[in-house]
Symmetry: C2
Subunit: 342 residues, 2 copies
């Protein structure tokens, strides 16, 4: 039998009203009384009815996080950091997987489920710029990702173009000239793939290196298996290249595996660069040089921004665009010095 | 301005009572009426107040999943599979990270937050057998993991002893005799580490191979970095071994990286075996031979079992122990044939 408010009041030797005040965290309760009630709650394993409580306070103490899928390591590490930051603020996280599908993303934005939470951190992948209006919802929302810009909501994201440009410049500075790309999305202008390819092209152009379609491999999703397939595709074309830029780490790791299966040495024959800064990239053979786009900062900033919006719905303020700093983590798959005679 | 029940009723041309019936999914509503109401809800972006709704129905449509941390790939892949299975049943998932800490696990079990959900899938790591009584809670709970057995709740888990024994037998059959272990927990009897080490010892004993403490490396947590440190520790000891059994895949991957850094060939000099069947293990160099302990089945079975308990709280029935089948995924790091002359 679950215990009741009455049981707690009796055990603590206080009125029901006092127990209720402690549960609802009202001010002006004597510390000794508060401690006695909390001890009684713990002893009885009493669980106050939060549903009733949230009806009164208008807050649920929960936020939602929507990501394409946790099986993509980037989103698993992002979710871990979001849950950690929320936990520090005493808030729980409801995690939704959308599969990166536009219809499911739109459905989620309209879903009555969101009433269970005080706000949403939304990593859009299927929706595009034309869907910006759908982000105007009657609840606090922080947007992640790079599919939609200038929407009427706070947006926390990475510097995709600059970071990808820096990664490409790094490869060029180490003496590479034929830099293949794995994970491109044909025709995409914004989105991670579109922006990172733009950064790549800007770096090539600045260095006077021609852009060559024949060393660009396209894959819609970004799992390790896609990177492996993308590299097999490049090898089948019979084109030459001395570096590969995987548009994320898992693509780069899949591609690096296939290169080595084919007897191609990394980095001697082909240097490999990733993007994400996953933990995994430190342990591959060779370890993966990558761009750390500031994911941890993004997660913590998204939580802080959302909680601030939840607290001060009255003074809404202008939507903000918050951009993370990035840095290149130099490892074995792409050393920074030119390799003479390689 | 958020729209109201009145707005929906007006747009759909029906009574408020009818809108309410559609939202609450009552039977005997004409399909055409239902469609009209749903269209009006979509057009207006109306979100019914679920908090009020759950007070009436006594259900929230949400379940909680507690795992040690999503940054451990095993739990990320588990959470992805749980969320997918729950989504198919129209249920959302609130994910909690406990850090594998006993106090935080116990606190979670008593937490009022759980009132926000209809039940809990609980992957315990810090709690032990003596804590079994704490699992007796006034809500549906399915236990995962191998820290507690014979508790008064449904338990879905893997066959740790048998699977680890099979992995060790596999290495012995391929001609290895000095099988080092990375990730052992000193003195642990149950728990993943304790049970897997028991399976390892059983296989050695059956083959007449002596157990040797000097090739057992201990690490409390199971990240890639722990596997790397464990292997450095073994190499520093100056002991000889011809195989390594990482008690999970990330340990094995960290260890494999350090072996190769030290110029030791995998599998020619030392074979490496993991445990978990992570996606990542297919792409390492060399690819990792591992035990797939049936994680996907565990996730789906846990969700189905919990939802069944939520539906029929009246007919509780005996707690069940549900065990997944396992299989060995043979890859490059430990081929099944003996390597002559290696």
């Amino acid at each position: 039998m679950a215990s009741t408010l009455h049981d707690v009041a009796r055990l603590a030797g206080v009125s029901i009203k006092t127990v209720s005040n402690v549960i609802n965290d009202y001010p002006h309760i004597r510390p000794a009384t508060k401690a006695r009630v909390e001890q009684a709650i713990a002893d009885l394993g009493y669980t106050p009815n939060l549903t009733a409580r949230s009806l009164r306070s208008g807050r649920t103490g929960a936020i939602a996080l929507a990501v394409p899928e946790l099986a993509l390591s980037y989103f698993a590490e992002l979710a871990a950091a979001v849950i950690e930051a929320a936990d520090e603020a005493g808030v729980v996280v409801l995690v939704e997987q959308t599969g990166g599908d536009r219809d499911r993303e739109l459905e989620l934005l309209r879903s009555p489920r969101l009433q269970m939470t005080d706000g949403l951190i939304f990593s859009a992948l299927g929706m595009g710029q034309d869907d910006a209006e759908h982000l105007e919802r009657p609840y606090p929302l922080v947007l992640l990702g790079e599919r939609i810009f200038d929407a009427p909501v706070d947006h926390v994201t990475m510097r995709n173009v600059e970071a990808a440009r820096a990664a490409t410049e790094y490869l060029l500075a180490s003496g590479r000239r034929r830099i293949a790309v794995v994970g491109a999305h044909p025709g995409e202008v914004i989105g991670s793939a579109g922006l990172r390819l733009r950064g790549y092209r800007e770096a090539l152009e600045a260095a006077g290196v021609p852009y060559d379609d024949s060393i660009i491999s396209e894959t819609t999703t970004w799992h390790r298996s896609n990177g492996a397939r993308g590299m097999r595709d490049l090898l089948d074309r019979g084109v030459t290249f001395d570096a590969v830029f995987g548009l994320n780490d898992t693509l780069a790791l899949g591609a690096m595996r296939v290169l080595q299966e084919a007897g191609i040495r990394v980095p001697e024959d082909v240097a490999v660069m990733g993007f994400d800064g996953l933990d995994e990239a430190q342990y591959s053979i060779p370890s993966l040089t990558t761009v750390d786009p500031g994911q941890r900062w993004i997660a913590r900033t998204a939580v802080a921004t959302l909680l601030e919006r939840i607290r001060r719905t009255d003074a809404a303020g202008e939507p903000r665009l918050l951009l993370a700093d990035f840095h290149i983590a130099e490892r074995e798959s792409a050393p920074s010095e030119a390799m003479i005679g390689a």
